[in-house]
């Protein structure tokens, strides 16, 4: 469970000496239950990406508290945050963020390598996963040899490989055509059902947002509207 209480954040803008604080998140309080697909939808500049960055530990909030599975993560140091991410979070990005010098297989393997898992164990795990997301045929291809849909599948496989309880997806379909978008959303729903993984989807697309169990709407740093509760 992710529990957010009274979360505030602002950015400094303007020239040095003439900076001013622009509030981005204004006293957010909400919960995300285990096994939910939650989407946070909003226009550009609404603060949804900043919220994701803070939940993921890329940013330290100005004030407020975040608890992930009972652990307060908002006061973590950079090193603690990195370790927590590796063990608890998976990430799916709009432009896939694959390592260009690594094959699809090696990209998926990377989080396990960072965790210090043995090669044989890694290979077994990645092979299984590549099969389950339908990437076995292209596992030796480099990212630039894959289609957008395939790259996003690799990205999802990389997010899944450490069996994290939570996956953050930042505009996961933003770079995909509508057909591939549907495939990816189906895959997310299927993984949520079969593995019980919590997905937090950040999107500007209402259609994508509606595939979630719960929808939060961001406007000027405030969650202005409660989500629609779908059956899990």
């Amino acid at each position: 469970m992710i529990s957010i209480r009274n979360l505030n954040h602002s950015f400094k803008v303007g020239k040095k000496g003439k900076e001013r604080q622009v509030p981005v998140l204004k006293g957010l309080t909400f919960d995300i239950a285990d096994g939910e697909i939650v989407s946070i939808v909003g226009k550009s500049g609404s603060g949804k990406s900043t919220l994701l960055h803070i939940m993921a530990g890329f940013l330290t909030p100005e004030s407020g508290e975040i608890h992930v599975q009972g652990v307060q993560t908002s006061s973590f140091s950079e090193v603690e945050s990195a370790k927590f991410r590796l063990d608890h979070f998976g990430f799916v990005f709009q432009n896939f963020q694959l390592m260009p010098g690594l094959t699809a297989f090696e990209n998926v393997e990377l989080p396990l390598t960072l965790k210090g898992i043995s090669k044989s164990e890694r290979q077994e795990k990645v092979n299984d996963l590549m099969q389950s997301v339908g990437l076995t045929d292209v596992q030796d291809h480099y990212p630039n040899e894959l289609s957008g849909g395939q790259q996003q599948r690799v990205s999802i496989a990389r997010a899944l490989v450490t069996d994290p309880p939570i996956i953050f997806a930042d505009e996961p379909t933003g770079s995909l055509d509508s057909e591939t978008e549907a495939d990816v959303l189906l895959l997310i729903q299927s993984l949520n059902k079969t593995r019980g993984i919590t997905f937090v989807i950040i999107t500007h697309d209402d259609e994508v947002a509606q595939t979630a169990n719960r929808v939060y709407r961001m406007h000027d740093g405030v969650l202005t509207e409660g989500g629609v509760q779908h059956a899990i």
Binding site: A56, A82, F93, L98, G101, P111, T113
Partner: protein, 428 residues
């Protein structure tokens, strides 16, 4: 992340930028090889000078200077710890003359203890050691100094003694305190000829006799000269002694010398000379290493550049790794390993090249120098131009790899400071 995975990660990145890494390794190699070769000249000259000094004398020899040396004191010195031999040589403080038939020469007679001499380095090329008071050993160049006085040409040419020496009897005379030769003759028989000195220019023309000859010499001398006593305090004494103490091992020379100094003796040993020599060459070698280090520092600019470029180019990848959960320390370590790898490869190549240059220069330079000087050899000296001891390899490697890692440290730190959000926003 396991260590072998870190290595394979670094190797993958190096492979991607082969040419740039190669050029950086080349610069590191040249800098390190320059340092090693430059310092090796210092080591080579040091060794050459050391060998030259050591070839003339025994390293365990300690020269003792005192006005009051006698047999009793020499005996006392023999009983000291770590003393292998004590050679008490007594020289005559007056003119001397030896003659075999028509041939005469002014050979210096030395009274010594052949047992002690034998313990150190006194060797005969033929014959045996004296057993009676009128038996002597002569130096290897004794005959060269016996000149036929009747046969000296106007142009200065003369004839030297060419006959046999062993068993030959010659007449030995000494002078008085006014420089006049005393007519009393002392017949001496040559029973041995000493070994040639190591150096061609060193000529041994001395006559070595046992202490049993002293009474006869004193009898003749003091029948013409006053003895030193209260009435004649300025009278000239016949014998002047000098003592050489030989330590059992080189390591003990210092201790034996110190003990002698404590007892009021003035001493000189080659180890002291070598110590001064070593200090001088240590300073020289340190200077050469310093100059060589400047070359490595120049090469380090290349390493810094390469690593900074690598970090800049990989900003997005570093951001992704950090986002996934890579420890910032791991990212720093990966970049440090890359710069260390450049340093290590550069050093290994530099060591191999330096040994090659050293071997070639030791072979080629003497040929060039002798050709330039128009001589057959370098004055009999065995000149070594370059030596690379393992210590130099260790010093150069430490400096080279250390400088490479320091050069890579700042870019590596920069990599850990990369902001994940900004890195992920970078265009592909």
């Amino acid at each position: 992340m396991q260590f072998k995975d870190q290595i394979s990660f670094v190797q993958q990145h190096i492979k991607k930028n082969k040419m740039r890494v190669f050029m950086t390794v080349l610069a590191a190699t040249m800098g390190t090889a320059f340092l090693i070769v430059l310092a090796s000249v210092g080591f080579g000259i040091h060794e050459t000078v050391r060998e030259e000094v050591l070839s003339n004398r025994l390293v365990t020899e300690i020269q003792v200077y005192t006005n009051e040396m006698d047999e009793e004191k020499a005996e006392e010195l023999k009983k000291r710890d770590h003393v292998k031999a004590v050679i008490f040589r007594q020289h005559l403080g007056t003119m001397q003359q030896s003659s075999v038939g028509e041939f005469t020469g002014d050979h210096e007679l030395i009274v010594t203890d052949f047992v002690e001499e034998g313990k150190v380095n006194f060797e005969l090329q033929e014959g045996r050691l004296p057993q009676k008071s009128n038996e002597v050993v002569v130096g290897s160049h004794f005959a060269d100094n016996l000149i036929d006085q009747q046969d000296v040409g106007e142009d200065g040419e003369f004839t030297t003694y060419k006959g046999k020496l062993i068993g030959e009897q010659f007449i030995y005379k000494i002078g008085d305190d006014k420089g006049d030769l005393i007519e009393d003759e002392i017949p001496l028989t040559i029973v041995g000829v000493g070994k040639k000195p190591a150096k061609d220019w060193d000529q041994d023309r001395k006559v070595y006799a046992d202490a049993s000859i002293i009474p006869e010499l004193e009898k003749i001398y003091f029948s013409h000269v006053d003895k030193i006593d209260e009435e004649h305090p300025d009278a000239q004494q016949l014998f002047y002694g000098n003592v050489n103490v030989y330590a059992d091992k080189l390591e003990n020379v210092k201790a034996v010398s110190a003990a002698l100094k404590d007892d009021g003796y003035s001493v000189y040993s080659i180890s002291e000379e070598l110590e001064q020599l070593d200090v001088f060459f240590l300073a020289l070698k340190a200077g050469l290493v310093f100059v060589g280090t400047i070359a490595i520092l120049i090469a380090s600019i290349g390493i810094f550049n390469t690593m900074t470029m690598a970090v800049t180019e990989r900003t997005r990848e570093i951001g992704v790794m950090k986002a996934i959960g890579a420890d910032p320390k791991l990212i720093q370590r990966l970049f440090l390993m890359e710069s260390a790898w450049i340093g290590i490869l550069g050093t290994v190549l530099a060591v191999v090249i330096s040994y090659g240059v050293s071997i070639v220069s030791n072979y080629v330079l003497p040929i060039i120098v002798t050709a330039a000087l128009g001589e057959e050899d370098l004055g009999g000296m065995n000149v070594t131009f370059s030596i690379i001891p393992w210590q130099l390899v260790v010093i150069a490697s430490t400096i080279s790899i250390g400088v490479a890692m320091i050069s890579g440290w700042r870019p590596a730190r920069k990599a850990t400071k990369i902001d994940v959000i900004n890195a992920l926003r970078q265009e592909l």
